[in-house]
């Protein structure tokens, strides 16, 4: 049985971003339903989202330079196609969600504050109608991201707990011998 792992950088990026994205999803869904914590959560949401945008670009370049190890033998051709498609979808969403967030704040003429006096420039001119549209798109993409995460998480749980094929070893932060 193959025991090839992703490269160290790929594994570190995966787990750091997993933590960031999960945090982000919960902050996002929580802040829009919160009065008392709204401001605090939004103040984290903006810079965390931009950090994810930067990291997903780094990760994409890394992915092109370092192809992943081969699929496990336990995966059918159909499952392999599904895994590849969901990987592509995750990359696309992790790029688009923060970008749409940045664009929608620009269209709403909100200053895009990162920390202190440091802020990003707007990437769209002020346009309330466009803001309303992008705001809706941001929510829809976020739910799609959560659903994709759940599908990915379910598949890994199935392989780990039912098939017990050691799929997690490929992404383990520590070294798992060949």
């Amino acid at each position: 049985m193959k025991r090839a792992q992703f490269t160290v950088l790929s594994r570190v990026l995966h787990w750091v971003m997993a933590a960031m994205v999960l945090t982000m999803l919960f902050i996002g869904v929580g802040m829009v339903a919160s009065l008392a914590d709204y401001h605090r959560l939004v103040s984290i949401h903006r810079p965390l989202g931009i950090s994810i945008l930067i990291l997903i670009v780094v990760r994409y370049v890394n992915r092109r330079l370092h192809p992943p190890p081969d699929f496990l033998d336990t995966m059918s051709p159909l499952e392999r196609r599904a895994a590849s498609a969901s990987e592509l979808l995750l990359y696309a969403l992790l790029f688009l969600l923060p970008l749409v967030g940045w664009a929608m704040l620009s269209a709403a003429r909100y200053p895009i504050v990162m920390f202190g006096a440091f802020h990003l420039p707007p990437i769209l001119p002020q346009n309330a109608g466009l803001y309303a549209l992008l705001r809706r798109v941001h929510t829809l993409l976020a739910y799609l991201l959560f659903a994709t995460f759940i599908a990915h998480f379910s598949a890994i749980l199935f392989h780990t707990l039912v098939l017990r094929d050691g799929i997690l070893d490929r992404m383990a932060l520590w070294r798992v011998g060949r």
Binding site: V32, S34, L35, Y38, H39, A128, A132, I150, S154, L161
Partner: protein, 329 residues
């Protein structure tokens, strides 16, 4: 068995997500429910702000005099002029209601700082706010058209009884142009050395105070007078910063700070143009009071985050709606 375990794990994650989003607790007071409350009380007015719905746009500049620099490192307090977008409005969610002197007047200002930062503030011509929590605000809103509910609300909120008496005793001026507008909520100014000062601020008019008359005017008499006055000459206000002392409450907008607190005149606001919302640049601006430059930060007043959340919800809804002409042209 293991499949069941997987199901349970997934259900827990989805459940935690849903709980965070308030899907499992429909009674939770969310920004959405808050704005629903305004819509129920005022009826639907698509395209308009859900509160302070009737208003006009204004523009001009603010000239800092440098006296605020010792309190806050915000660029706005350095000597010099920054452009402002402003809005004068009447409290309430009715965009076409007739003007009355009893109605609370507001001034909202967006200071566009040269480094790209912004400071937005919404101020009212009352000395204190009627409630000190978002929950209290919502209860008051729900009770606004129901005398039985209002009595119950006042019984539960003695702080609101005191505040409303104080608001009722205020001297109302003849118009927008000679009104004093107060931040009501407290904030913190932080200077270059990192020292923080609790503050509240006011825009106090250069125009002489003249008491409001009891005579009823035209439907838009307050706004029309403001527009006419601004056409004759620019209107000015001083930005007066009141410094809190240790022990002055920063988390209770129903309580005024004691008389005699040190005040600093940080600069002069000059309004050069007042015009209909349909032409002005203020309509599509959310005057979120927590859009602050570095050097001004929120206090522990629970109304601030709630205002930010509710304004955002109101803004998002109206941004996507078809615009009707404003009452004041």
């Amino acid at each position: 068995m293991r499949l069941v375990l997987i199901g349970v794990i997934i259900l827990c994650v989805v459940g935690a997500f849903g709980y965070t989003g308030g899907w499992l607790t429909p009674d939770r007071l969310t920004p959405g429910r808050f704005i629903d409350g305004f819509e129920q009380v005022n009826g639907p007015h698509p395209g308009f702000r859900r509160n302070h719905a009737k208003g006009v746009c204004a523009s001009g500049s603010f000239e800092g005099n440098g006296q605020g620099v010792r309190l806050s490192k915000a660029v706005v307090f350095e000597p010099g002029r920054v452009p402002v977008i402003a809005r004068f409005a009447l409290a309430g969610g009715q965009p076409y209601m007739p003007d009355t002197n009893a109605n609370v007047r507001s001034m909202a200002v967006l200071f566009a700082l040269p480094n790209g930062e912004e400071w937005r503030t919404g101020m009212n011509n009352i000395p204190v706010f009627a409630v000190n929590t978002p929950e209290g605000f919502y209860e008051q809103l729900e009770a606004s058209h129901d005398s039985g509910k209002m009595k119950a609300f006042l019984d539960r909120h003695p702080e609101s009884v005191r505040a409303m008496e104080e608001i009722g005793r205020r001297a109302v001026s003849s118009g927008f142009e000679n009104s004093t507008y107060n931040s009501l909520n407290a904030f913190h100014f932080v200077n270059a050395a990192g020292a923080s000062t609790a503050v509240r601020w006011s825009m106090t008019p250069v125009e002489r105070f003249e008491a409001a008359t009891t005579a009823r005017g035209e439907k838009n008499f307050l706004f029309d007078a403001l527009i006419a006055r601004a056409r004759k000459q620019p209107l000015q206000w001083h930005l007066i910063v009141t410094l809190g002392q240790p022990g002055d409450p920063t988390n209770d907008a129903t309580i005024a700070w004691p008389e005699g607190r040190e005040q600093v005149d940080a600069g002069t606001l000059t309004i050069e143009r007042v015009e209909s919302e349909d032409e002005g640049r203020c309509r599509d601006v959310n005057f979120d009071p927590l859009i602050l430059p570095s050097g001004i930060s929120p206090s522990d007043d629970p109304l601030l985050s709630a205002r930010s959340a509710a304004y955002s919800q109101s803004f998002t809804r109206r941004a996507g709606e078809k615009k009707e002409p404003s009452a004041v042209q």
